[in-house]
Amino acid sequence: MGRIEIDEIRCKGCGICTVACPKQLIKLCDKANIQGYTPAEAVNQELCTGCALCAEICPDVAIKVFR
Amino acid sequence: MSKRLFVKGNEAAAMGAIEAGCRYYFGYPITPQSDIPEYLSRELPKLDGEFIQAESEVAAINMLLGASACGVRAMTSSSSPGISLKQEGISYMAGAELPGVIINISRSGPGLGGIDASQSDYFQSVKGGGHGGYRIAVLAPNSVQEMYDLTMHAFDLADQYRTPVMVLGDSVIGQMKEALVPNPRPVRELPAKEWAVRGKSGGEQRIVKSLFLGDGELEAHNWRLHAKYRQMMEKECLSEEFETADATLLVTAYGSVARIAHTAVAMAREEGLKVGLFRPITLCPFPEEALKAAGQRAGRILDIELNTGQMVEDVRLAVGSGVEVSFYGRPPGAGSLPSPEELLDQIRKHYA
C-alpha cells in the first residue's frame, strides 16, 4: 500500500517516471503547469505499492513517496 | 641584531614566503626560477606544509586557487611563458577575489625566447594579464633583500585586498647572491577570511566563484574590482627616489636595470650632471603621483627598460604632455644587459 505526491510545479513533464512505474500508474496530464510543461500525475493510486522507482528515476526530485 | 645570510634572490623569496606564513606551494619547473620550488620542496615538509610539483603551470595556479579558497596562505612561482599559462587561473582568482602570491622570475620572449634578464612581462603583469576586468598588484624588487621583503609584503597585500599579487623579478635578481637580513614579518592588521570555504560547519553556505549572470551583477562586480584597484592606487604605491631633488633629467627604471641605472646616475653626478633616478617598486598600482611630481620638477625623463618600451607608456601617462619622455631599451638576449657606462652615455646624450 503506497501513495505518491508529484510536485506539479517542479515537474518538467519528461515522462521518464511513466515508464519506470511497474504498474503504469503515472501519466502526463494535458494541462500545462506554470513552467509550460505538462506534468505527470498519478492515476489509480490505490494500486500504488510505494516502491519509489518513479522517485528514484525522476531527474527533478519532484516525487514524494509514502508507504 | 639580525643575522646576515648570503643567499640567492630566488631563495630569499622562498624564505620570505615561509616567514609570511605560507605553507602551500604549487609549481612547475622553469628556468630561471627553479630554485624557488627546489628550496620549498625541501623546507615546507619540515613545517607540515604541502609542496606539489604540478603537471603544468595551468594545474599549479589552479591548485593555488583551491588552497587560497580555503583561506590559507599559498603561492606559486614561474617564469614568463609559464606565467602566460597561469593567466587563466590568475583571472579566475581575481574574479573570485582570492588572495595568492605569484612570483615571476621573468625571462625573455616572445615564445621560447631565452632565459636572460628581461622586462618583457611588464604588460602581461600590470595590465590585467588575462581577459580583462581586473588588475593585480605587481611588486618589482631590485635586490635580494627586496625579494624577501616584498614577497612578505605581497602576502599582506593579497589578504588585505583579496587579490592575486605578483612579485616580478628576473634572472639577475633571482640568481644573484647578496647579503640578506631575514627580518621578521611585519605586523599588519588584516581582515578575517570570512569568505573562505571550510565545509559549512553549521554556518552559512560559502561559495567561491567568478560567474555572475544575474542582471547587473557582473557590471557591479567589475566596478567593485575597479574600486579595489583605485584603493590600492591611493594607499599602496611604493617607489624609491635617488638624487631627484634638483635633477633636471630624471631616469625611470625598475627591477634589475634600475640597479645599473643607479650606478650610472651616481657616475653622472660625479661628472656634475644633475640627474636623478625614480624607481617604481609597485608597478601596479603605478606610483603616478610621485612620478608626476618628480618628472615635472625635472622636466625631462629618460626611461630605461630591458624591452622595446612598455613601462614608458605609463611614465608618459603619469607625467602628462609637459614633460619630454625619451626611451632607451635593451630587449633581452645574450649580451644585451647594458653596462653602467652604456647607460651613462645615454644620460649624457639626453642631458640638456
Partner: protein, 249 residues
Amino acid sequence: MQQVFTRPESLKDVQTHFCPGCQHGTVHRLVAEALDQFGVQQKTIGVASVGCSVFLYGYFDIDVVEAPHGRAPAVATGVKRARPDSFVFTYQGDGDLAAIGTAEIIHAANRGEDITVIFVNNTTYGMTGGQMAPTTLVGQKTSTSPYGRNKAKDGAPIKMAEVLAQLGGVAYSARVAVNSPKNVLQAKKVIKRAFQFQAEGKGFSFVEVLSSCPTNWGMAPLAANERIGEEMIPYFPLGVFKDDPIAQD
C-alpha cells in the same frame, strides 16, 4: 503511511535550470544522498566545473569552489591539501574532464589525491549547444560533427573509467548509468562506495555516469533515455574497473 522517499538534506529545495529529462538532476540527488549518508554535508567542499554543472552551488547546500574549465581536479587538489579533514568532490562533464581537463584529471588521479570525482558523460557539450565531445560516439551527429563523428579523423570516444583504472593512485573507478530504476539504484551504491574510499582516506575514487542530453541530442526525454541503453552502454560498458583499497600502498 510514512514518507519513504524524500529530498536529501544536502540538496536545496529549488527548481533547477536543467532541461526536461536531463539527468544532471538525478546525479545531483544521488551525490547529495551519499553526502547525507556519510554525514559529511557540514564538512564537504564541492568543486564545480564549467558547463551545465557549473551551478552546483545553487543546488547543493554545501560550500563550493568554482573551477576554470577542466581544472576542477587541480582546484580540488589545492582544497584537499589545504583542508585535509574536509570531504572534497568534483562534478564534471565530458568536455570538461575528458578534453580540456585531461591533464588535470590524469595527474590528480595518478597522485592518488584523496578526492572523489563524479564524471557525467552525456556524449556532448551541453551548455555550449551540443558540440562534439571526446565521448561522442562514432557516427553521432552533433553541431560540430554534422556528418557524424568520424573515427579516422576525430578518434574513438574516450573510455575514461577504464583509462583511470590503469593509474597507480586510483583506488576506485567505475561506470554506471541512470537510465532505468535498476541502474539508478546501482549508481547509488557505486557513488556511496566511491565516497567510502574518501571517508576512509584510501585514495582517489572515480565514478563515470552515463546520462542523457535530450535537448542537444534532438530527442524527446524518453527516446534519449532509451539511447543510453541502446547505444551508449554497448560502447561504454557498466561496471567496476578498479576497487582496490590498498592502491596507495
